[in-house]
C-alpha cells in the first residue's frame, strides 16, 4: 500500500480489505459471529448438515456391522466410490495449504482474508478423507496395524515398499502438520477473543486455548519465524501428499494408472478442486456472516484465475496421457484411453472433461470472474468434475482387465451413495461449528497489512514508510 502517486495501484489495485478499516473494527467484525446467538441462516445450514451427517452415520453403521460387501464392489472393480471419495477429499484439502503456505511464501497478501477458513477446510477435508481407507479396511478398529510398532507377531513389520503404506505416513503427517500450522496461526487471535470475553467460562476456555499468549514482541519474532518455516515445510509436504496418493495408482502396471505424469497432474488437480470448494464455501459464508468487506470480489476473482490456470494444467495432463497412449504403441494403453472416451463410461469421462476443462474457460472474461452467481455455478461444476475425474481414473481403468472374462461394470448401492452424501455432512458440520467457535479470519494478519493508523482511523503512514 504505497500512498505516493504510483501507477501500479491504479493498474491492479491490491485486493486488500477496505482501507477504511481500523484495528478495533477488525476485531469487532471478526469476533462478532462468535459472540452473538447464531441467526436463522446458520441454524438452517447446520440442520441441513446434520441431516447429511445422519445419512453418513447410518451408512457407516451398516457398513461396519455387515462388511464392505454392502458396497457395489466386485472382483474386477475392487476400488470405486471409497477411494474416489478419499482422493476427492484429500484434494479438497490441498487448496487450504496452498493458500496458507504457498501464497504466503509468494507474499500474496490477499490471502490473509481467506487463509483461516481455507486451513480449517483442509483439516476437516483430511479428516473426512481419512475415514474412507479406514472403513475400506473392513475392520477399522484394527487400523493401528497400519503403523510400524513392535508387536508379538514377530515383530511382523508393515510393508514399506507398498504405496498404500506411504499413504498412511503422508496423510497422517499432512493432518498433523496442517493442524499444528492452523493452531499456531490461531493462538494470537484466540488471545484476542479471550481478552474480549465477558464471562468466566469463555475466558478460561479461550485462555487455555491461547496458552496465555501476550503479544510480546520478543515472542512475535520467534512466532513469525516459525510461521515462515511451517509454510516452507507445508509447501513440499502438500506436493508430496497428492503425489503419494497418485503413486497408489501409478506404481502399478494397470493401463491408465501407470503413467509418469501422475504426481504433478494429481497435485494440479487437487489445487484445482480445492480452490473450487473454497470458492463454493466462501461465497455462501461471506454472505451469512457478513464478511463481504473482508472477503471481497477481488479475492474471488484471484481465485477464479487460479482455478482457470490449474484447470488448464489438468487439461494438459489429459492431453498428454492421450497422446502418449498413442505414441507408446502399447495396445493396452491405447485401448484404455479409447475405452474411456467412447466405452461404457464415456458419460463419466465427458462429464469430467466438460466440467474441468471446457466450463472453467469462461473465466477468461473479467465479467464472468466478477459475477458471484456465475462463479458459484462454475465452482459447483468443478467440484463435480473433479469427483468424476477420480472416478474415471479408478473405475474405467479397472473395469476392463487384461482378460475379457474379467470385464465388468460398477453400479453403486445406496450405501455407496449414502456414504458419499454423509461425507459432505461430516465436512459441513465441522465447518459450520468452526465458524461459531473460532475467528474465521486471521485478525492479526489482517491488521498487519492495514496501513498504520491512529485509533480513530486517521491515516498516519504506512509500513513501508517505516520499515
Amino acid at each position: 500500500m504505497k500512498h505516493n502517486t504510483n501507477a501500479a495501484e491504479y493498474l491492479e489495485p491490491e485486493p486488500h480489505p477496505a482501507d477504511s478499516l481500523t484495528y478495533d473494527q477488525v476485531t469487532r467484525d471478526v469476533c462478532a459471529p462468535l459472540e452473538r446467538v447464531p441467526g436463522r441462516g446458520w441454524w438452517m445450514a447446520f440442520s441441513g448438515a446434520l441431516g447429511l451427517l445422519t445419512i453418513g452415520l447410518i451408512s457407516i453403521y451398516k457398513l461396519v456391522t455387515t462388511g464392505i460387501g454392502v458396497w457395489g464392489l466386485n472382483n474386477t472393480i475392487g476400488w470405486a466410490y471409497d477411494i474416489t471419495n478419499f482422493v476427492f477429499w484429500i484434494g479438497i484439502g490441498h487448496a487450504g495449504t496452498l493458500i496458507s503456505a504457498i501464497l504466503f511464501l509468494f507474499r500474496q497478501k490477499w490471502r490473509t482474508a481467506i487463509n483461516r477458513s481455507a486451513e480449517a477446510m483442509t483439516i476437516f477435508a483430511v479428516m473426512t478423507a481419512g475415514l474412507f481407507p479406514l472403513l475400506h479396511t473392513g475392520r477399522p478398529w484394527l487400523a493401528f496395524w497400519l503403523f510400524p510398532y513392535p508387536n508379538t507377531r514377530g515383530s511382523l513389520w508393515v510393508n514399506f515398499r507398498s504405496p498404500l503404506l506411504w499413504d498412511v505416513f503422508a496423510v497422517s503427517t499432512y493432518f498433523t502438520i496442517s493442524a499444528v500450522f492452523w493452531y499456531i496461526g490461531l493462538i494470537p487471535d484466540i488471545a484476542t477473543v479471550r481478552d474480549r470475553a465477558r464471562n468466566k467460562i469463555r475466558r478460561v476456555i479461550y485462555g487455555a486455548l491461547s496458552m496465555g499468549w501476550t503479544g510480546s514482541m520478543r515472542n512475535w519474532m520467534h512466532y513469525e519465524m516459525v510461521y515462515l518455516i511451517l509454510a516452507g515445510l507445508s509447501t513440499p509436504l502438500v506436493l508430496s501428499v497428492h503425489s503419494i496418493v497418485s503413486f497408489d495408482f501409478a506404481v502399478s502396471v494397470i493401463p491408465g494408472w501407470h503413467t509418469t505424469i501422475f504426481p504433478p497432474y494429481f497435485v494440479a488437480g487437487a489445487i484445482f478442486s480445492g480452490f473450487a470448494m473454497v470458492m463454493t464455501l466462501l461465497i455462501i459464508v461471506r454472505k451469512v456472516v457478513h464478511l463481504e468487506e473482508y472477503i471481497t470480489v477481488r479475492h474471488l476473482e484471484n481465485m477464479c484465475k487460479i482455478i482457470m490456470a490449474t484447470g488448464l494444467m489438468v487439461g494438459y495432463a489429459y492431453a498428454s496421457e492421450f497422446f502418449i497412449a498413442w505414441y507408446s504403441g502399447s495396445p493396452y494403453e491405447q485401448f484404455t484411453f479409447v475405452n474411456r472416451a467412447f466405452g461404457p463410461y464415456a458419460w463419466a469421462y465427458w462429464t469430467m472433461v466438460s466440467c474441468n476443462v471446457f466450463i472453467p474457460q469462461v473465466f477468461w472474461f473479467k465479467k464472468m470472474r466478477t459475477n458471484l452467481t456465475i462463479m458459484f455455478i462454475i465452482s459447483i461444476f468443478v467440484n463435480i468434475g473433479m469427483w468424476f475425474e477420480r472416478f474415471v481414473i479408478i473405475v474405467t481403468s479397472l473395469h476392463r482387465g487384461f482378460l475379457p472374462s474379467e470385464w465388468s461394470y460398477f453400479t453403486p448401492t445406496i450405501w455407496d451413495i449414502g456414504l458419499l452424501i454423509g461425507s459432505f455432512g461430516i465436512f459441513f458440520t465441522l465447518f459450520l461449528l468452526f465458524t461459531r467457535v473460532l475467528p474465521m479470519i486471521a485478525m492479526a494478519e489482517i491488521k498487519s497489512i492495514l496501513p498504520f493508523k491512529r485509533k480513530g482511523g486517521v491515516e498516519y503512514g504506512t509500513h513501508e514508510d517505516v520499515v
Partner: protein, 401 residues
Amino acid sequence: MSHHGYHSLADLPKPGHFHLPKTAKHIFIACVAIGVVSFAGALFQDATRAWYNYLIGYFYWMSIALFGAFITAIHHATGSQWSTPVRRLAEGMSSFLPVAAVLLLGLFLGLHHLYEWTHVEEVAKDVLLSGKSAYLNTPFFIIRSLVGMAIWAGFAHYFTTKSLEQDQSGAISITKGLIKASVIFLPLFALSFTMASFDDIMSVEPHFFSTIFGVYQFSSLFYSGVTTLTIIVILMQKQGLLKGLVTEHHMHDLGKWMFAFTVFWAYIAFSQYMLIWYANLPEETFYFIKRQENGWQYWALSLAILKFIVPFFLLIGKWAKVIPNYLLSVGVLMLVANWIDLYWQVAPAYSEFARLGWQELGIFVGFLGLFGLTVSRFYSRHPLVPMKDPYLLDGVNHNQF
C-alpha cells in the same frame, strides 16, 4: 533494514551502462572459435558425436533463452513487482532466441545422424516406430520445430520491444498489453515446449515414452534459467551497474527460486525414475538400464549429487542467498550439473560406454560463447532496468519482511 525506500520513479538512481570488458569479449570469441573447430573436427572424426553435442548445446542454451521469455510472461501475468528491476536482464536472455532459430536450422542438417526414426528402411522394419511415423517423420518434425520457435521468438520479440518502448513513453497501456500477451503466451509455451522436449530429446530414444517428460525438461529450463539470470545479476552488480535498484532482497528471492527448483527438479526426476523402476515394464526400463551401466551409472549418481543434494544443502540457509560470490559459485556448479543431466539423457542413445572428450567440452563451450556474445550485445545496447515501468518503484522498494 530501516531504509526508507524511494518515493517516486524520478528519485531512483539510474542504472549504469554496460560495456562488455575486452577480455570477456575475447574469451567469448575464443569460445565460439573453439566450438566451431571442435564441431568441424568432430564431424570428420565421428559425425554422430558432433551432432548430438550440437543438439545438447542447442537445447541447453535455447532453454535458458526461452526461460527469459517465460519468466517475463510470468512476471506480467501475475503482476509481480519484486522482479521488475531484473526483468530487463531476463528479456536480454531471450534475445538469444533468434540465434537459436538459426541454430535450429543447422540442426535440421543433422537429423539423419541424430534420430533413428528418420531412417525410413529401419522404421519399416520396426512395428513400434512405424506406428509412430505419423508423428515422428522429418517434415512434421521440421514444421513443429519451426512453429514452436516462431512462437517463442515472436512473443519474446514483442515483450522486449514493448518494454523498450515503455522506457520512452512510460505508458501504462503498454503494461496492460503485455499482460494480455503473456496470458496468451503461457499456454502456448506449455504446449510448444512439451512438444520440443518430446521431439528434440525424448525421440533420441524413439521407443521410450514418458508423460512427465515435458515437465522434466521444464524443470531444467527453470533450474538453469533462473541460475543464469542470477549469475547475470551478480556480474552486473559486481560492475556496480544496478546500485540502489537491485538489493539484497532481490538476491535473496532469486536464491530462493534456485533452491525451489533444485527441489522441484528432484521431485520430477524422482517421480519419473521411481514409477518406472517400480512398475518394472521392459518397454520403459530399458531407458534407465542403458543409463545405469557401462560407466553411465557414475553420471547418474553425480547427477543426483550435483544437481540436487549439493545445491540443496549449499542453498538452504538465508545467508547462502545473499553472499554474491558464494551464490555465483553455486550457480556455476548448477549450470554444470544441468549439462550433465542433458548429456546423460542424450549421449547414451549413441554411445554404449560413457565418455567425455574434447568434442563434448569444445562444442558446449562454443554455444556458451555464442550465448555470451548475443546477450551482452543486448545489454550494451539497452538500459539495464525498465526505468518507466509502473511497477518499478514497488519493485525496487521491495522488502522481504
